[in-house]
Subunit: 526 residues, 2 copies
């Protein structure tokens, strides 16, 4: 195998899970099929997928492997950010509550919480393996000790090092036991930032001692549990490296992670297209610096050709040893050796998935039930207003047209008003008369630059209370927004919090407010 082809194995490019170019949701980042076919023919060894149903994805994974070639040395790493079950990203598979939902249970009943986290990992791993993914980019090992964190939030397994370590390791055992690779992220710890690395390069100013006590703990545990891969963070940590962000730092990747923490699996960068990197480094140099620092795999280089050129140049000029390259190739091969092979037939994969719906649906339901919080009386009755806040009503996964958040209040006489980032500013005076049921879908999300709330919901709640118009409140997602709003509520006001945003979470939370199943609802109980 020639040098360039060897290096290409270390790239992970992004593709849509849909089969047609016209269906790409993010053409900014997703290669067109002609480009994908070209790069796979050149030996590119990994693809990260987003978009499409589980059926689309099953066909797609097999198509990509076919484009890469069927010989053993062409076997692909196929990955996705399915941190909350495969159904989080690929509809039709199981969508589970966010990990942070288990943290309170762990305080009270650690063994039960860990058993559930293991089942969560098994469910995710089993479905990924059947559909055709052999690498799940989870668990998030960051400790979410900062409520203002705009990107981690409910994705973390804990707000303390101990919870995050125990639960993420339990998840990992379940996941990797199904013959797919896991990925502890984002090393050395992305929990305590209030900036979004998708938009800028956050700093973590803590001492090495504090990092040891908090940030490193879940990563040490994951390495102890033999995690297959670790993903780097686009974070500046002056205590570890005064110059480079973790992703590009030899001090962080080679000295700390490889030597001190004795991690011998795959080190993969977070996506190099993120602006924390591209604002400061060119596309070739970023890839070369990451590899030089100790990364084995380069995720979503801003320009694949430039990355490959720079890596090739580095080999030729002796910027790193030949042995260093062979080690990365070898680690990739070893990881692939841990993966259970995927079946050839996409239709058979979907049939297998269908057989798992009952047990996985029961797990999803148990996780929802134990994470629900509620207060106040039941029995909302319209006419009134069903005021819903989402990030974006376009491409809004939590709100299919038969979503309980729409149908149940409507069946009780509450007419829906939907607010999102593209709406006219909320005007309480212009709402239809009658009581208001407020449903807020808020959680930390990349690219928003804030923890998700718009900053004015506390004021809205206070105004509605003053006008005696607040009929009920549900927060889907952020526990921090719920904590902020709940303290404003009279104890008997019907209200609920649930960390999940999926239709099943809506059904449960609205049930708690006395809004039972609506006619024509359904089809969401997975």
């Amino acid at each position: 195998m020639n040098l360039r082809r060897k290096l290409a194995q270390l790239l992970v490019l992004r593709a849509s899970g849909f089969s047609s170019d016209s269906q790409r949701r993010y053409p900014r980042w997703e290669l067109a099929n002609a480009e994908l076919q070209y790069w796979l023919s050149q030996g590119v060894g990994g693809v990260i997928l987003l978009g499409g149903s589980s059926a689309d994805l099953a066909l797609r994974c097999r198509e990509l492997q076919q484009w890469a070639g069927s010989a053993a040395q062409n076997r692909l790493l196929l990955c996705a950010d399915v941190e909350e079950g495969v159904g989080q990203r690929f509809e039709g598979a199981t969508w589970l509550v966010p990990p942070l939902a288990l943290a309170p249970l762990w305080q009270a009943e650690p063994q039960r919480a860990e058993a559930l986290a293991r089942a969560y990992g098994r469910c995710t791993g089993r479905e990924a393996q059947i559909i055709g993914l052999n690498w799940v980019l989870a668990p998030v090992c960051d400790v979410n000790n900062n409520p203002a964190n705009p990107v981690i939030n409910v994705r973390a397994w804990g707000e303390t090092a101990a919870a995050a370590a125990a639960l993420s390791c339990a998840f990992l055992q379940g996941l990797e036991g199904e013959g797919v690779l896991g990925c502890a992220k984002h090393f050395p710890g992305h929990g305590d930032t209030n900036q979004d690395s998708h938009l800028q390069l956050p700093q973590l100013l803590h001492s090495r001692e504090r990092l040891e006590q908090l940030e490193f703990v879940p990563f040490r545990a994951a390495i102890g549990a033999d995690v297959a891969s670790v993903m780097t963070a686009h974070l500046q940590l002056p205590a570890l490296d005064r110059e480079r962000p973790a992703t590009l730092s030899g001090a962080v990747l080679s000295q700390l992670l490889r030597q001190e923490l004795a991690f011998n699996g795959l080190i993969v960068t977070d996506a190099l297209v993120m602006e924390a990197i591209t604002n400061h480094y060119g596309p070739g140099e970023a890839a070369a610096l990451a590899f030089e620092a100790g990364a084995d795999l380069i995720l979503m280089p801003a320009d694949a050709a430039a990355a490959l050129d720079a890596l090739e140049q580095g080999c030729i000029t002796g910027r790193w040893s030949e042995e260093r390259l062979e080690q990365s190739i070898q680690r990739r091969q070893s990881a692939l050796g841990r993966c259970r092979p995927t079946g050839i037939d996409a239709a058979a994969a979907l049939a297998s998935l269908a057989h798992l719906q009952a047990p996985h649906g029961a797990l999803a339901q148990e996780l929802l039930q134990l994470s629900l919080q509620q207060q106040g009386s039941k029995g909302l009755q319209g006419p009134g207003v069903n005021l819903i806040r989402v990030d974006s009503s376009l491409a809004c996964a939590p709100l299919p047209l038969a979503a309980p958040a729409l149908l149940r209040p409507e069946a009780a006489g509450f007419k829906t008003t939907l607010i999102d980032g593209r709406s006219q500013p909320l005007n309480l005076e212009a709402l239809a008369p009658g009581p208001v049921l407020l449903q807020l879908f808020v959680r930390g999300n990349p690219f928003r630059g804030s923890a998700g709330a718009d900053g004015y919901w506390a004021e809205v709640v206070q105004t509605l209370l003053k006008q005696q118009k607040l009929a009920g409140l549900v927060v889907y997602g952020s526990p921090y927004l719920w904590q902020e709003l709940q303290q404003l509520l009279p104890k008997n006001l019907p209200a609920a919090y649930i960390p999940g945003q999926m239709p099943g979470a809506q059904a449960l939370a609205l049930e708690a407010l006395g809004l039972g199943a609506a006619r024509h609802e359904g089809g969401f109980t997975n």
Copy 2:
């Protein structure tokens, strides 16, 4: 074969194109998989599909046939309302302009328009056949001579009998030449109503003579062109039957369609779950009346078991002859004999579809270009407001996140404000300052009860003109709304009309206003 199993062949039930129950978009109408499997095991002979990508659908068609059994006598009729290309309903396939887009061309260049309608039919038929549908519920043969028609509108092939007849027949030739069945609808003509039969039973008060001169013309032509099936309308036509709607009328189906018009193909009811029927007839009786009147196939009975019971009872009590049943069975068999068999492998089907993207994309583009209307100068420049009106921002097919209607104005400095049926009332005073680009996605759609406009857009245009704030206008869909608004515009004001609402239509219309391709756009050129 026993009687009940024979009768079950004549039912067409509705299913989601997605594989999992949790993905059903309309659980009100779509059977769950367990019910589907049951009914297919009982011999139900047809399924109408909605929802899912072309990949989902390809897997689904094969799954349904597998559930029905692989023996020849179990072969299913698999249909969908893909009147505007398979991509209209199943993303990833080709989405074409609405048929009415060709009507103006037909006035000027009838041969070119008919050649394009034939290509339109070939494109639709070829993709349907590859994916696994063997029955396309098109063409609409209704003459849209009534601009207030809430359900036909741009779905018709013409506003005159001659245009509708010529173009729908050309479409039909192209379609059926690909080995799939067509369906002329909605007999005897649904064009001249201003009520929605999904919500109530419209009346058509014309004389028989007038019906002959206008409504019947495209149906006579389609029958002359050997159309495989005709769908009945839920319409009251006192000149033909003083008592029963067309769907349930022996005078309309047997005397008129079967005898006078000498149609010997399949007569299929429109969906019996529509309120025009269910408001007046029970689920069993509606099916029995339709069959008694002359229908061969019963589409979407409100209750499959009740329909089957009533049909069985009618056979046993001699409400119709045994021969009558055998004729319907025989017509269904003959129709299936005209269908080109579907390939077994869904992945191979998608690969075939991919090979057709270039020619079918070129056809889609040609149709878009010839249907564009524009006026005024080019060169919009923000900052300003990109005010978009859609029916529903949830599940909004025309607006993926990379839609030109979003990205192009945003690249020119226009911030998007999105208005739909769930928004707060439009408040022009509260819009951000600066010029307003108005983009209206309006066309007749079932279940809305109006021709789609909200009634106030003329006033909005006049107000913005008075304030000298109207920067540009695009209407996607209804030619009638465009005619109403265009007459209010100064001749130099940048404005465009295009009948299609898909991303490709947006790109073309905005190009006409001087808004060229935005960075990160793309992925929509089919």
